[in-house]
Subunit: 149 residues, 2 copies
DNA sequence: AGACAATCGGACATGATCATGATATTTTCT
DNA sequence: AGAAAATATCATGATCATGTCCGATTGTCT
């Protein structure tokens, strides 16, 4: 599916946080809106925190907030925080002969990787939200799903 | 890594078969040249056979051959035979409200998927070989690795 | 200040899928 | 018949997606 389930979850979570940027959002609430299993989402949020994308606050009135404004976070950053889409620096069949340069096959694959990296780097979380404000649909599939509690 | 290990193996195998198109190549030989664990390669070849990309022949003088000419097989076909990169037809958070149309996030992801599908569909196995004949490097990283046996 | 409750943060456990190995079984050429 | 192959089956360790628990913080209320 191009990106892993986990990376897709991470994007959902970040988008949902961006929709309420500034407010502190609790894991349970996020889980409900994004339809991500709460226990798993918790782990994903930890990863995003370590990557410096979100800030967490414990205790009462705690929760998560984005570290940066939605227009300062690219989709690529979120994906890379979870499962880096690495470029191919060297050929998987590592033969001594070609330490320089990849073979045609892997050169093509690397180009494709570079292409999707560029695509994902080219738009931000905010881009995913702006559209929503222009009518049609909300950031996360019109997900309003049972207001918190 | 964009495509799975298995899909990458499948590409290596197909490229290696293409390099000797017409000849019947044995699994062990393929495994040596492509550096793919023989037991696993065997399973991949089964999948490729069921997908109609290669033809197999049992018994003495048996082995595998491409079903079609290298220029008639796209990289995408090989990948799809192993692990289909599906378009997103519907939003993963399947809420009734939006049976039509994806939300911005998933629309973008779907576009990215479409993009890589197009990229991979746009060139053939032969394209990976032609370059090799023009000097520089061979189809599979100059892999000549210990001639059969 | 102290108790309490809401939250995150980590540790451990599990089923599924992936990548792989080992082995037996069938087919087919010579 | 015998050997060389593919094909099929079973087993394993690693990683992924997930669940469960408990411990560590921290705001709020007496």
């Amino acid at each position: 599916m191009l990106i892993s389930q986990t990376a897709e979850y991470a994007l959902r979570a970040i988008v949902s946080l961006a929709e309420r940027h500034g407010q502190s959002v609790v894991t349970q609430d996020l889980a409900r809106r994004t339809r991500i299993p709460a226990g798993y989402l918790s782990k994903i949020l930890q990863t995003l925190r370590r990557a410096g994308l979100v800030h967490s606050q414990r205790g009462l009135r705690g929760g998560f907030v984005l570290q940066r404004a939605p227009d300062k976070i690219s989709v690529l950053e979120v994906i890379d925080a979870i499962e880096p889409i690495r470029r191919m620096t060297r050929c998987p069949l590592d033969l001594p002969e070609h330490a320089s340069g990849l073979c045609p096959l892997h050169r093509r694959l690397d180009e494709a990787i570079g292409q999707v990296r560029n695509t994902f780097a080219s738009f931000s979380i905010a881009d995913l939200l702006d559209e929503s404000r222009r009518g049609v649909s909300r950031g996360l599939c019109d997900t309003v799903a049972a207001p918190a509690r």
